[in-house]
């Protein structure tokens, strides 16, 4: 008798989970209708431009024109349908559910926000990629560092230092490439400091990372106030890397203007993601890196030099974060302002975790954050009735939602955050 009771309880729990997920979907559908579906005058259209205005490189394709009311209803119905299916049958993958909800909601929001107007969808996707660039580079720095079990929360500080170094050197030498190299070197030096503290002196990695951030923000703010702003013409005026359209590829509709018409640093980021992915999973360096992060003692007993591997990776991470720092100045505005990284280093760490310590995953999650950022800019231009302060919170809110809700199935390197003590 007791056994039956227990089995009944078990069934109840399953049913409860299924009901909860289904009801959540129905609520999302309802929210789509309530927030975006009411008060729309009939006959309104939203135009999504798929060819950037005045871009002669790309083969033009027609714009996407959607009737507002029906489109929002259709998206709401999709959410309702998936919710109903979930209630009746149950869908295993929570990833699919989250994806469907997110897509329906964001699409409905865009259609509503740009109603009776036209929106440059391709431009927005391009902005997402550009805004994701420093986040992805920060995440990549985190990935190769933490894969050897050294946590680096000092990426924010590293990026600030290299942002400053790159614009200063570029201005002084009148050469953007020299600035980029200076940014990389600065990143390597600051990361090297973190590496020595963590690996040689076995300082707690979080404390060392916090120290790097404090030194980075303090020193750059000081130099900025004292010199960069005062002698802006001589020190803080470098110009930026120009956009380089890639021949042929840039002609592809949508993809061309989004990916193949960017500046050097964006290309560099995409190349680094691909290269590090291959290196990490298909080469000797990658195997040893992962082994050191998972079980340093095992690696040591097989003759792998744990300390050397960690130094190499942390400093290499500094180089990548240095590229990310250079993006803020010589890759985007051509001048340094204090605290200009605005938490992108920390968002990069969130992207690394959400991307499961995998370069490709880190890029994917960086794009989500980049999209939230570009959406915010777009909404201010479109004059939606949402206060701009709230819109500016978007990337950070997305970070919190992602960290709180979706993360859970990820696996950190087993030894992450622990110093290795050789006997």
């Amino acid at each position: 008798m007791t056994t039956n009771l227990v089995q009944k309880n078990e069934k109840k729990t399953n049913l409860r989970n299924r009901l909860a997920a289904g009801i959540l979907l129905l609520v999302a559908g309802l929210a789509i209708i309530l927030l975006f579906g009411l008060n729309n005058k009939p006959g309104l259209y939203t135009t999504f431009r798929l060819t950037p205005q005045g871009d002669k490189n790309v083969i033009p394709i027609p714009d996407l024109v959607l009737p507002v009311q029906p489109a929002i209803y259709i998206l709401a119905i999709v959410a309702f349908f998936v919710g109903g299916w979930q209630l009746a049958r149950g869908i295993r993958s929570t990833g699919i559910l989250a994806g469907v909800v997110a897509f329906c909601f964001v699409a409905a929001f865009l259609i509503w926000a740009a109603r009776d107007n036209s929106m440059d969808l391709v431009g927005m996707m391009n902005t997402s990629l550009v805004r994701a660039t420093p986040i992805a580079l920060a995440a990549l720095c985190g990935v190769i560092s933490e894969r050897t079990a050294v946590i680096n929360i000092g990426i924010e500080g590293i990026m600030l230092v290299s942002a400053l170094a790159s614009v200063m050197v570029a201005t002084l030498m009148h050469n953007l490439y020299a600035g980029l190299i200076a940014g990389m070197l600065a990143g390597m030096i600051v990361a090297g400091l973190h590496a020595i503290l963590c690996i040689k002196f076995k300082v707690d990695q979080i404390i060392s990372g916090v120290a790097v951030n404090i030194v980075g923000t303090g020193a750059t703010s000081f130099i900025s106030n004292r010199y960069m702003q005062v002698h802006a013409e001589q020190l803080n005026n470098s110009g930026v890397f120009p956009n380089i359209p890639i021949p042929l590829l840039v002609k592809i509709p949508i993809l061309g203007p989004v990916i193949f018409e960017n500046n050097l640093i964006v290309y560099l980021m995409l190349i680094l993601v691909a290269v590090i992915f291959v290196l990490l999973f298909y080469t000797r360096w990658g195997l040893r890196t992962r082994a050191v992060g998972e079980h340093p003692k095992a690696a040591d007993t097989l003759g792998v030099n744990v300390y050397l591997t960690r130094y190499v990776n942390v400093i290499l991470g500094g180089l990548i974060a240095g590229v990310g720092g250079a993006y803020f100045t010589i890759g985007s505005v051509g001048r340094f302002d204090k605290l200009m990284t605005a938490g992108k280093g920390f968002i990069g760490l969130a992207a690394m975790i959400f991307g499961n310590w995998n370069p490709i995953g880190a890029l994917g999650s960086s794009l989500i954050f980049g999209f939230a950022d570009s959406l915010q800019v777009k909404m201010q231009i479109l004059k939606t009735p949402i206060p701009s302060e709230f819109l500016q919170m978007a990337p950070y809110i997305v970070t919190i939602i992602v960290m709180a809700g979706v993360v859970g199935g990820v696996h950190a390197p087993a030894a992450d955050g622990t110093a290795y003590e050789k006997q």
């Binding site: 056994t3 095992a298 696996h411």
Partner: protein
């Protein structure tokens, strides 16, 4: 021909300890040498020196008659020495192939790992030595026995001629031990030499050619396995006559102390692992719970000690229901608990010995006055317990993590036995301990029983259950299938019950009892 490996006068000091004192040792080609000794006798230190993990302070190492110096593991590997560590050096999220190739990765096309070549070589090795392994399997998905085979392949892949196995059987089931022995025999038949480190006498006699016994860092003697006996080896190891038999007076059971009725408990994965268990334990008796590991014993103990919630059923201790009580309420009722995983549930490893000794009582006078701990009283009490329970520790101020397993267990026993207790719940109290410590803990448990404490003993070691218990409850799939008087029960009968045979059928296959009165404890 010189021996494959010879050690002469190896000496190693650790701060305050002489871990190895002028050790001489030699291994012949194609033979198995067993290195026997209690925990802390210096076996593992010696092997870590040989493998380049520690530097010896004195002494020479000869391989095939030629003196060598070994600075780090890669030196050892290059000299043909391979080590299978007690705690496997495997990375659970990687495949067998990746684990085997780590450190000596073959490369194709300039930079890419050549996994196919390694996988092929693994299959060749596994065929040659009868080591069944799937190169593509992830280590985390493999049972412990298969993980050990990967470790052995890892060593053979590096073309080792001398294999060191550190306590290889500690984590294996009896069937897996048989499999390991088969592999070792085929290794020596192929001309490899093996050093087998252990403290289990039975295994040494079963597998070794020669046996070198270590005690407190010194070689006590080297004997041929053929001429050795368990008693002789045990006394060499411990340094005095060891009583291999638990002597005890007949029990005089009193009132029911612990009563369990129709108990249902879930494990961490939410499976029902205790499935309607019922039994009583009386004052002054030892109730042994026998069963193959994983039949709900762990969760039963968790439920009794308040560490896991009860789904349904009743537990009462001295006529008071404790089903919803907190662990502290339960221990304040006079329950002592020796947990199965002493490092996880029994001790706070980074805390000093003195604090671990008062973990159950620190908040009560005389150890606490208001909000303040009375350090003086605690230190005094700790010193007394360390003497009384013979805990070998440099002082009561060192972290308990620095003690050997046996001494950690003694700290738990000292803490639990120093309170007035009515019920002792001991889960695998001698797991991983050496002969001397086992003898000590067994005698203490019997002492408590004779003082009138009710004892619930849970152990997968049938010999231990039979030696200590007055009654034996056999647990199978979360139920108590039968309760028998221990004095005359037969091991084969218990074995059948543990395997799930119904008591009535088991009776036909094997008689339930014999006339044995004293049961020999086997290690």
């Amino acid at each position: 021909m010189p021996p494959v490996l010879e050690l002469r006068g190896i000496t190693k000091y650790f701060p305050g300890v002489l871990a190895n004192d002028a050790i001489d040792l030699s291994v012949e080609k194609g033979k198995i040498l067993a290195l026997l000794g209690e925990n802390g006798a210096g076996k593992t230190t010696l092997m870590n020196i040989l493998y380049g993990l520690y530097k010896p302070d004195k002494g020479q190492i000869f391989i095939n008659g030629e003196e060598v110096s070994i600075h780090d593991p890669s030196d050892a590997i290059a000299r043909g020495i391979g080590m299978v560590h007690q705690h496997f050096m495997l990375i659970p999220v990687m495949t067998a192939t990746e684990n085997v190739m780590l450190g000596v990765e073959p490369i194709r096309n300039g930079i890419f790992l050549d996994k196919a070549r390694v996988a092929k070589r693994i299959l060749e090795i596994s065929k040659q030595y009868d080591l069944e392994v799937d190169p593509q399997a992830y280590i985390g998905d493999l049972p412990v026995g298969a993980q050990q085979r990967v470790e052995i392949i890892k060593v053979l892949y590096r073309q080792a001629d001398i294999l060191i196995l550190d306590e290889p059987t500690a984590v294996l089931t009896p069937q897996e031990v048989e499999g390991l022995f088969k592999v070792l025999r085929s290794l020596v038949a192929n001309g490899k030499s093996v050093i087998f480190i252990t403290h289990k006498l039975k295994e040494v006699l079963a597998i070794a050619d020669t046996i070198t016994v270590l005690r407190s860092g010194r070689v006590v003697g080297t004997v041929n396995a053929k001429d050795a006996s368990q008693e002789k080896l045990a006394s060499m190891m411990v340094g005095r006559e060891v009583n291999l038999v638990v002597r005890k007076k007949p029990a005089s059971p009193g009132a029911v102390v612990l009563s369990v009725k129709d108990l249902y408990v879930r494990d961490e994965r939410k499976n029902l692992t205790v499935n309607g268990a019922s039994f009583d334990v009386r004052a002054g008796e030892v109730m042994g719970v026998a069963g193959v590991q994983g039949n709900g014993q762990t969760e039963l103990v968790y439920a009794l000690t308040g560490l896991a919630p009860v789904v349904s059923g009743g537990i009462s201790i001295m006529d008071k229901p404790v089903r919803h009580s907190s662990p502290r309420d339960i221990l304040e009722r006079g329950v002592a608990h020796i947990p199965e995983d002493r490092q996880r549930h029994g001790l706070i490893l980074p805390f000093p010995v003195r604090d671990n000794l008062v973990l159950c009582t620190y908040y009560q006078p005389p150890f606490a006055k208001g909000l303040a701990l009375q350090q003086k009283v605690i230190i005094e009490m700790a010193g007394k317990l360390v003497d009384q329970f013979d805990v070998r520790t440099p002082s009561v101020f060192v972290p308990v993590s620095t003690l050997s397993g046996g001494n950690q267990q003694k700290v738990i026993v000292a803490r639990e036995f120093s309170r007035p207790i009515k019920l002792l719940i001991a889960s695998q109290p001698t797991r991983g301990l050496d002969v001397g410590s086992i003898e000590y803990i067994h005698n203490r448990i019997i002492e408590k029983r004779d003082e009138g404490t009710a004892v619930l003993l849970v152990s997968p070691e049938l010999d231990e259950i039979i030696a200590l218990s007055d009654r034996i409850a056999v647990m199978y799939k979360g139920k108590i299938v039968d309760i028998l008087p221990a004095a005359k029960v037969k091991k084969t009968f218990l074995g059948l019950l543990m395997a799930g045979v119904k008591p009535s059928e088991a009776l036909q296959e094997a008689p339930a009892t014999t006339q044995e009165t004293e049961v020999e404890r086997v290690f």
